[in-house]
Amino acid sequence: MVRRPTARRHQPWADDIFKVLKDVGVRQMAYVPDGGHARLIELCLADKGIRSVLLTTEEEGVAQLAGAWLGGQRGVMLTQSGGVGNCINMLSIIRECRIPLLALVSMRGQWGEQFPWQVPMGQGTQAALESMGVIVHHVDEAERVGETVFAATQLAFNAHRAVAVIISQRLTGTGARG
């Protein structure tokens, strides 16, 4: 029998992401609580070298990370796919000033989604990002998460680009409660 996709509580790939973030010197993390990023959020909150900032809406994080980089610090935004739509106008500063942005997007409305209201923004996530010039990397295999995020950090912080890594719902799970 094929196993039904469900919420993944075990997210060992998040530890690989955390190691990359530490290695490249990320100092600020902006987030809205999200099951897909639960493990990574825990790791960041427990780290004294990373300032984790809880947002009321994801667009705040885009502005915060622009300010962080202007002030000399690297940052990362952790968002669910639904939050990407909130960021569109705020991405103007990233694009117009060519400021680095690293966003890690945990998907809903994609692989095996069971809840209908997650589908519109989930299916629109990549197009929304690309409409504002954000370069999109995809990852759907646990063992490739670390290298994909590392590649994204190089493009973001060394080549001064806006980069989002879309982490497939195959890894984050479908979510049990909509």
């Binding site: 809406t57 667009e59 300010g67 002030g71 000399g72």
Partner: protein, 203 residues
């Protein structure tokens, strides 16, 4: 909570003069200015590599200030923005209140109108009290300023005292002469980072 002050019959403070006064003794403070007249006000007070002018991202100025204040805890960061701009990102006051950056001050140049689109009313002329929202969000202090002596009393909270602090400065809505402001994004961000970080701007 502090009792609301009685409003004077006429608002007499002029926005350019208010911002010029605030920035007169800024020292090495970093200044972020919000879309619209606030960026004009800051440039008119004297262009400076420690200024970062915003011309878009309505509602984003306070959060740019937060990210900068967290990155540069030894420098004062002053966000100067309009009432319409802050209202567009009002949730950011809650985010900033929780982070409680001691070195951040937000100055709202409040003309109770959307100046760039034809002076339509904002909520601040209809009872919305931004200073009360800041206090309710956990800011260390907040004040609404109507007069020149009240502006003088707000100078230390803006530039020196432990923050986060929010000042709402009520200014009249008469049109002011426009000035030229650098708006080339890559130039401004490189100028700002070079002045602040020196050679580390290349890292």
């Amino acid at each position: 909570m502090a009792a609301r002050k009685a409003k004077p019959a006429h608002i007499t403070l002029q926005r350019r003069a208010v911002v010029k006064r605030i920035l007169k003794h800024r020292g090495d403070a970093l200044v972020v200015s919000g879309i619209g007249n606030a960026s004009q006000d800051c440039a008119a007070a004297g262009d400076d590599p420690n200024n970062f002018y915003l011309f878009g991202i309505m509602g984003g100025a306070a959060m740019v200030g937060l990210g900068m204040a967290l990155a540069q805890p030894k420098r004062r960061v002053v966000v100067i923005t309009g009432d319409g701009e802050l209202l567009a990102g009002i949730g950011s006051l809650a985010t900033i209140g929780v982070q409680a950056p001691k070195n951040l001050a937000i100055v709202v140049i409040d003309n109770q109108a959307y100046g760039a689109t034809g002076m339509q009313d904002t909520h601040t002329g209809h009872g919305v009290d931004l200073a009360a929202i800041a206090l309710g969000s956990g800011f260390a202090n907040a004040a609404t300023v109507y007069t020149a002596p009240e502006l003088e009393a707000a100078m230390d909270p803006i530039l020196e005292d432990r923050g986060p602090f929010l000042a709402v400065v009520k200014v009249h809505a008469k049109a002011v002469r426009r000035v030229k402001v650098p708006n080339d994004g890559p130039y401004m961000r490189s100028r700002f980072r070079r002045a602040l970080l020196g050679d580390a701007a290349d890292d």
